[in-house]
C-alpha cells in the first residue's frame, strides 16, 4: 500500500470584529495610553472592561480610569515564546490587577528570569511605540520599583482619590486619572490576524485516490455492502456506514449529469467567464464529481453530454473536461446519478 500523503496546509485569516461602546473605549484608551475599566452596580471596577456584569448580567456602561501600575496576582514562566506572543525572548505570563481595579488583566511581563517574578510583584505598563487601539498597544508589563497599590485596603472605590490631569501630552500620573472614556476619534473595530499551520494528511482512501491520479488514473472505491462505487472515495459508504476498500478504476470518460454557468470571475482564477461547471458521472462511478467543461461554447453544454479529461503538462489532476465526440447519453442511463 502506498504511503499516506502529507502536505503543509496554512489557515490564515484576518479576524475582523466590531467593538461595542465599552470595548471601543478601552481599546481607544490604550491607544491614548490610558487604561479604562468599567464600574459595576456594586462599585467594583472591572479591567479589562466587559459590557455585561459577569455576576448579575447587568449592562455596564460607566467607564473609569485606573492606573498603568499594578500587582501580579499569578504568573507563569514561559521559557520558549511561540509565534504571535507579546515578547520574543523568555518572559512571564501574568495576570495583573491594576491599581484601582478589582479584576486582573492577562499580559506578558518582561523579566530577566523566573527568579525575578513573584505573585505580588509591582509592575507597570510598557506602551508600544505605535498604538492602533488594540490589546497589543500594551507591549508588555515591566517590574516597577514604586509605591504599593495606593488603593490597597480601601473598601469603597467611590471614595478613591481621582488625580485629574490637564494635558494630553503630559506624562501620565501613576495613579488613576479621571478619564470618562469619551474620545473624539474612537476605534470602532479590530482586525486580529490569525494563522495556524498544519501538516495535513488525507488518510488511506484519499491517499490511494491521489496516488492514482498522479498516474492519470481515476480510481474510486466500492462499498462491500451496497456495491456502489464512490469517486472520489472518502473511506466510507455514506449509506451503509462501512469502510470502502476495493479499488475500481473508472472513466476516463463520463457524462454531464447537470451543470451551471459561471458568470462572475473568481479572485485569483485565470479563467474567462462565462464558463460551465458541471457534475460528471465517470463511466463506472455511482457518484458524480465536479469539474469545469471546456472545448465547447458555454451555451452548448447540455445534460447527457459525453466528456473526457484534459490533462495539462504539470497538473496532478484534470484541468477540465471536454466533449469526447460520442453521442449524448440517454437520460435513463444517468438519472440515478443526478
Amino acid at each position: 500500500m502506498p504511503q499516506p500523503l502529507r502536505a503543509p496546509l496554512v489557515v490564515e485569516f484576518p479576524f475582523t470584529r466590531s467593538l461595542g461602546p465599552v470595548q471601543s473605549a478601552f481599546l481607544t484608551g490604550l491607544r491614548e495610553r490610558t487604561v479604562l475599566g468599567v464600574r459595576t452596580a456594586d462599585g467594583r471596577i472591572l479591567v479589562p472592561p466587559v459590557e455585561y456584569d459577569p455576576v448579575t448580567a447587568d449592562e455596564l456602561r460607566e467607564l473609569a480610569e485606573v492606573a498603568a501600575t499594578g500587582t501580579v496576582t499569578t504568573w507563569a514562566w514561559n521559557p520558549a515564546p511561540r509565534r504571535g506572543q507579546p515578547l520574543a525572548t523568555p518572559f512571564a505570563w501574568v495576570l495583573v490587577r491594576l491599581d484601582g481595579a478589582d479584576t486582573a488583566l492577562l499580559h506578558a511581563l518582561d523579566a530577566p528570569g523566573p527568579g525575578a517574578v513573584r505573585t505580588g510583584l509591582r509592575v507597570t505598563v510598557r506602551w508600544a511605540a505605535e498604538r492602533t487601539g488594540s490589546i497589543t498597544d500594551i507591549a508588555c508589563f515591566e517590574p516597577y520599583e514604586g509605591e504599593s497599590d495606593p488603593y490597597e485596603g480601601e473598601p469603597d472605590p467611590y471614595e478613591r482619590e481621582r488625580v485629574p490631569y490637564e494635558h494630553e501630552h503630559e506624562p501620565r500620573p501613576r495613579t488613576a486619572g479621571g478619564h470618562d472614556g469619551r474620545f473624539d476619534d474612537p476605534v470602532t473595530g479590530i482586525v486580529a490576524p490569525a494563522r495556524l499551520d498544519y501538516d495535513y494528511s488525507p488518510g488511506r482512501a484519499q491517499s490511494r485516490y491521489l496516488h492514482a491520479l498522479a498516474e492519470r488514473r481515476t480510481v474510486g472505491e466500492r462499498c462491500p455492502s451496497c456495491r456502489k462505487v464512490y469517486v472520489p472515495p472518502r473511506g466510507a459508504c455514506p449509506t451503509c456506514g462501512v469502510a470502502t476498500a476495493e479499488q475500481i478504476e473508472v472513466g476516463p470518460r463520463g457524462t454531464v449529469t447537470t451543470y451551471c454557468v459561471v458568470n462572475i470571475k473568481a479572485k485569483n482564477l485565470d479563467i474567462a467567464v462565462p464558463y460551465v461547471y458541471a457534475h460528471i458521472a465517470l463511466d463506472g462511478a455511482d457518484l458524480a464529481l465536479h469539474a469545469r467543461i471546456g472545448g465547447i461554447p458555454y451555451d452548448q453544454v447540455r445534460m447527457g453530454l459525453r466528456v473526457e479529461p484534459v490533462w495539462t503538462a504539470s497538473s496532478r489532476y484534470p484541468d477540465h473536461y471536454r466533449p469526447s465526440g460520442e453521442p449524448d447519453a440517454d437520460y435513463e442511463v444517468y438519472k440515478e446519478l443526478l
Partner: protein
C-alpha cells in the same frame, strides 16, 4: 427514583488506541471502528439509531465543516436525525440525552474525535479565547493552565511535589488501560511553562470514542447492566480569566449539585483534568475524599484526544458500571481554558440481586 421524565443509560462505550500521530487515517477512517464496536456490542444497526450527535472541532482539523466527512461513517444517507456540537463529545452526549428525555428518540449514538497531530494544538486552542483582549496575545493552553497552577501553589492548595505525584499516579493507573497513550513510569521532564513540567501536561495525540444511549426497557434489553444517568448538568465560568478565582471551580460544584452528586457518595470519579493542577481544583470543588477512586483509567493525563477526552470520561465511568466494578460513579468533562466550562454526570448501576 429519578428527577427526569425518562430513565436513560449509557449502554455501550468504545474508544480507539490513542496515538501521537495517525497520518494513515482520515477522521472518518479513525471514527468508523469505534462506531462499529458500540453497534456490535448491542446488536443494533445504524438504521436502528433514533438520534446521532457528534463533537469535533474544525480548528483541529484545519478545515471548515470537517464533521460532515465523518458523518459518512454513520450511514447518514438517506438523511438521519443528526446533530453536531463544536465542543467535546460530552456535550454531544448531553444533547442526545435531552433528545431522549423529550421522547423524540429511544436510542442515540454519540461520538467524538480529534486529531491534534496535524496542527499545533497549543496554538489551535488559543483561537477559542476572547478575540478582543486575549486571543491577540496568543496565550497557549499550557500557559493558561500554568497561571492556574501558580495560583493554586500561592494559595497553599498544592505544591510541585503533589502535582508530580498526580501525574505519576495517573500514568501508573494507565498501565492497565490498553487504549492509553502514556502509561507507566514517565519522567516529570522539562519545564514547559512554569510551574508546569512536561509530566504535568497531557500527551498530544489523536483518537476517537463512541457511546450508545438508550431509554428504559430498551436499555435493559440491550445491556446487561446499564449505566443509568441519574443526573447531568453543565455550567460555565465568567469568560474573563482575571474575573475568576482560578483556585476554585464554582461551575463544577454547581453542575455536580444539580446532577445530584452530593446526595450520596460516589465510589469512583472520572475527572477530565488535562493538567495535574486541574485535578486539585476539581477534587476541592467536588469534595472528593480519599475513599473515592479518581481516574482509574489514567485520565486525560494518559490520553487526551481533544474533543473526545471528556466523552471518554463518561464512557470510562459507564464501562466500570457495565463490568460491575462501580455502583455509583461521577463523570466530569471540561472545555475551555482553566476549566472554563464543566459538565458533571452521575451514573449508577442497578444493585445486584
Amino acid at each position: 427514583m429519578t428527577r427526569y421524565a425518562r430513565d436513560v443509560a449509557i449502554i455501550a462505550f468504545a474508544q480507539t488506541d490513542h496515538q501521537r500521530r495517525s497520518d494513515e487515517l482520515s477522521e472518518v477512517e479513525m471514527v468508523m471502528p469505534v462506531l462499529h464496536q458500540v453497534l456490535r456490542r448491542t446488536g443494533l444497526r445504524t438504521g436502528d439509531i433514533g438520534f446521532t450527535c457528534s463533537g469535533s472541532s474544525d480548528y483541529l482539523a484545519g478545515r471548515a465543516f470537517s464533521f460532515t466527512m465523518a458523518l459518512d461513517g454513520v450511514g447518514a444517507w438517506p438523511p438521519i436525525s443528526e446533530s453536531h456540537v463544536e465542543m467535546d463529545g460530552a456535550w454531544a452526549l448531553y444533547e442526545a440525552w435531552v433528545k431522549i428525555l423529550t421522547g423524540a428518540a429511544d436510542t442515540a449514538l454519540v461520538y467524538a474525535y480529534g486529531k491534534s497531530s496535524p496542527g499545533e494544538v497549543r496554538d489551535v486552542l488559543s483561537r477559542q479565547l476572547d478575540p478582543y483582549y486575549t486571543a491577540p496575545l496568543w496565550p497557549d493552553s499550557v500557559a493558561l493552565a500554568a497561571l492556574q497552577a501558580q495560583a493554586l501553589i500561592d494559595a497553599g492548595h498544592t505544591d510541585e511535589r503533589e502535582l508530580a505525584a498526580i501525574g505519576a499516579r495517573s500514568r501508573a493507573d494507565a498501565a492497565a488501560n490498553p487504549y492509553a497513550q502514556l502509561a507507566g513510569a514517565v519522567p516529570r521532564g522539562d519545564m514547559v511553562v512554569g510551574p508546569l513540567h512536561r509530566g504535568d501536561c497531557p500527551p498530544i495525540g489523536d483518537g476517537a470514542a463512541a457511546v450508545l444511549l438508550a431509554a428504559g426497557d430498551r436499555a435493559r434489553e440491550l445491556c446487561e447492566r446499564p449505566a443509568w444517568i441519574r443526573g447531568m448538568d453543565h455550567r460555565i465560568e465568567a469568560h474573563g480569566l482575571g474575573v475568576r478565582d482560578l483556585t476554585d471551580s464554582p461551575s463544577t460544584r454547581l453542575a455536580a449539585e444539580r446532577a445530584g452528586a452530593f446526595e450520596r457518595p460516589v465510589d469512583t470519579a472520572e475527572l477530565h483534568a488535562p493538567f495535574t493542577s486541574q485535578e486539585v481544583v476539581l477534587r476541592r470543588s467536588l469534595d472528593l475524599d480519599s475513599r473515592v477512586r479518581v481516574n482509574p483509567s489514567g485520565g486525560a493525563l494518559s490520553a487526551n484526544p481533544v474533543m473526545a477526552a471528556g466523552l471518554i470520561r463518561l464512557g470510562e465511568a459507564a464501562a466500570l458500571i457495565h463490568r460491575g466494578e462501580s455502583d455509583r460513579a461521577l463523570a466530569h468533562a471540561t472545555s475551555g481554558p482553566c476549566l472554563q466550562q464543566n459538565l458533571v454526570a452521575v451514573l449508577e448501576g442497578d444493585s445486584h440481586g
